[in-house]
Symmetry: D3
Subunit: 137 residues, 6 copies
Amino acid sequence: MATVKLWSDAEAEADPRVSAVFADIRATRGSDFINNFWRGLAHDAGLLERTWTTLKTVMGPGTLDPLTKELVYIAVSIANGCPYCIHSHTAAARTKGLTAAQHGEFLAVVGMANQTNALVNGLQIPIDSAFRVEDTP
Amino acid sequence: MATVKLWSDAEAEADPRVSAVFADIRATRGSDFINNFWRGLAHDAGLLERTWTTLKTVMGPGTLDPLTKELVYIAVSIANGCPYCIHSHTAAARTKGLTAAQHGEFLAVVGMANQTNALVNGLQIPIDSAFRVEDTP
Amino acid sequence: MATVKLWSDAEAEADPRVSAVFADIRATRGSDFINNFWRGLAHDAGLLERTWTTLKTVMGPGTLDPLTKELVYIAVSIANGCPYCIHSHTAAARTKGLTAAQHGEFLAVVGMANQTNALVNGLQIPIDSAFRVEDTP
Amino acid sequence: MATVKLWSDAEAEADPRVSAVFADIRATRGSDFINNFWRGLAHDAGLLERTWTTLKTVMGPGTLDPLTKELVYIAVSIANGCPYCIHSHTAAARTKGLTAAQHGEFLAVVGMANQTNALVNGLQIPIDSAFRVEDTP
Amino acid sequence: MATVKLWSDAEAEADPRVSAVFADIRATRGSDFINNFWRGLAHDAGLLERTWTTLKTVMGPGTLDPLTKELVYIAVSIANGCPYCIHSHTAAARTKGLTAAQHGEFLAVVGMANQTNALVNGLQIPIDSAFRVEDTP
Amino acid sequence: MATVKLWSDAEAEADPRVSAVFADIRATRGSDFINNFWRGLAHDAGLLERTWTTLKTVMGPGTLDPLTKELVYIAVSIANGCPYCIHSHTAAARTKGLTAAQHGEFLAVVGMANQTNALVNGLQIPIDSAFRVEDTP
């Protein structure tokens, strides 16, 4: 259950700003399916618009391939413990070509990163000067 | 500062198990540099051996390209708040070809994922049945 | 399901310390309803007493208004990924006057904070001297 | 140290998009000071523009008072362990009127939320039906 | 639901590497029961083998008693918000002798640690020199 | 640097409530040393009193041995990324007898827990019915 009511298509159609976002999601994805995340965000048209616009830009064409971006998205969602996000982006990654072998290898990297993050934090390892970037303006 | 003393090369050489791991790190990377993480783990030869062996396997050749793996590693390290890990793996990603444009795009994806994770958690969005995988044995 | 059995009213009444806390919760809130959190804590009367006493003090009258405190509570619960806490404190915030517009605006702030936290961590931004407070004793 | 070089004013002025954002930050805040976060983001003009535009909207006038928004921002930053964010938003909260008494009370709420989040997670408390919202579309 | 199908015993038997791990889990634990975690990992025989081998070593006999190790495991799982891990390791801790009184006391420590972590992060307390270890190699 | 000024002994002595807590810390620990955490909390006498009183109770004699409690405390602090807490409680654990071998073994358990937490979250493993406790009141 959500902390808000999810908007139905009928409710979305009655609000021009929400309706426009839903239409753009459908056009962009070439599918009639609107997942629950957007139906929950519909309560705040501004938040819905900003979130969709930014997501579309950030996950759209760029210098990283689409599957890599989905894997980065899932990695963050696992670390943050967001079941919905893990499910939706794992499904998206499969649509973008994720194989079973890649999924296993990806999970191994995520598991390893979480393990060594903990070891480094537990040992409070100081940063090697070799990793330093000149950063002063 | 660390919570343990970091091992010098001289100390590592005096312990055959630690010495063997340090030698394999150098051979695998083709560099004499041993970063502080391994010098901190050297206190527990078993933990050092297991961590290095697994890391070598997990980050070695597979079905995902090396840069993608580094980006996944950094994404997890950002979510977990591990400064050392972020610095060392950002340096490693640059060695593996990360460009400034890709770095910016990667950070945008990580930022977006953290934002939508929070929105989903705040709204407690229920998982769409479309994302479900048949999972019962 | 919980990792412990939740205490019924009958079980609580049989233990004078638990019974006293349940009575004070009811009196303080002006409601007969005891939510599951307290029924789970009832296994350890000392922990139940300390948690309730501190919560009553911390969330009671002070220099911040009650709704602000609930929003801070929900923000932490979202970042920590605690579904129960998000539901119970969102319900409490509504009781204290949270409107739908405020809820959307609050979620936008939480989402923005999580996003910029990730960007700052990814970039490892050094703290500006302008933010420093004289802190030495 | 950062994982990227922070942009100086001279570097920012040489890039019209970055320069425009820096000018808007200065105009909006009525101060010449540009904190390091924006100097780090300047490497990716698109990310800089989107982040500033959204932050300006989200933290701008709305239905929640400015101090409440800063406290929510700090609460998230504490839970995520972002030292830079904690320092910069605590400084901002003071500018918006945060008193020492309010700061202590705020920290007590944050501490309490983190404590009860852990207790609830450890006990895996099921959500009371009283907290449920009708959510099906 | 999982993001992958969980392997049945019949499926595991058809893969010699998975079958060997399942047999070792059964022999080590003296029980026919294979919990869902291993059935999910079975998709990647290498990840399954490495995870089981390391877990068996790490949680096996050493210098810390078995119950202490389980409590440390649960504490991490609570902080990371992993419901499955909390349930499975709380069950394991009970098998290793955890009493109801110890469970309550453990949760009080976990709650306290989360609370003071938040207070320390919020205040950004500098590390006392008394806690420093000589760490330079 | 902290977000507040740390209180000197002279400042603490001028406030009877803070002074009483500092005196009790010294008496309880049999040492004149007051670490920075308490000097930061001193700004809010109520928060200082509640935190010290609860800590003294929770970390005091009970059904778990003192070293186990410190290890649980450090495990949480590692997962939450609190450098100060990791340093102060690792120092405290050493005072309570933590050996180098135990420290290594402890870190291996923490690392393993973080790794499997991530694998479980990534796979979204459903909870085995064998782990369920009857929980309805």
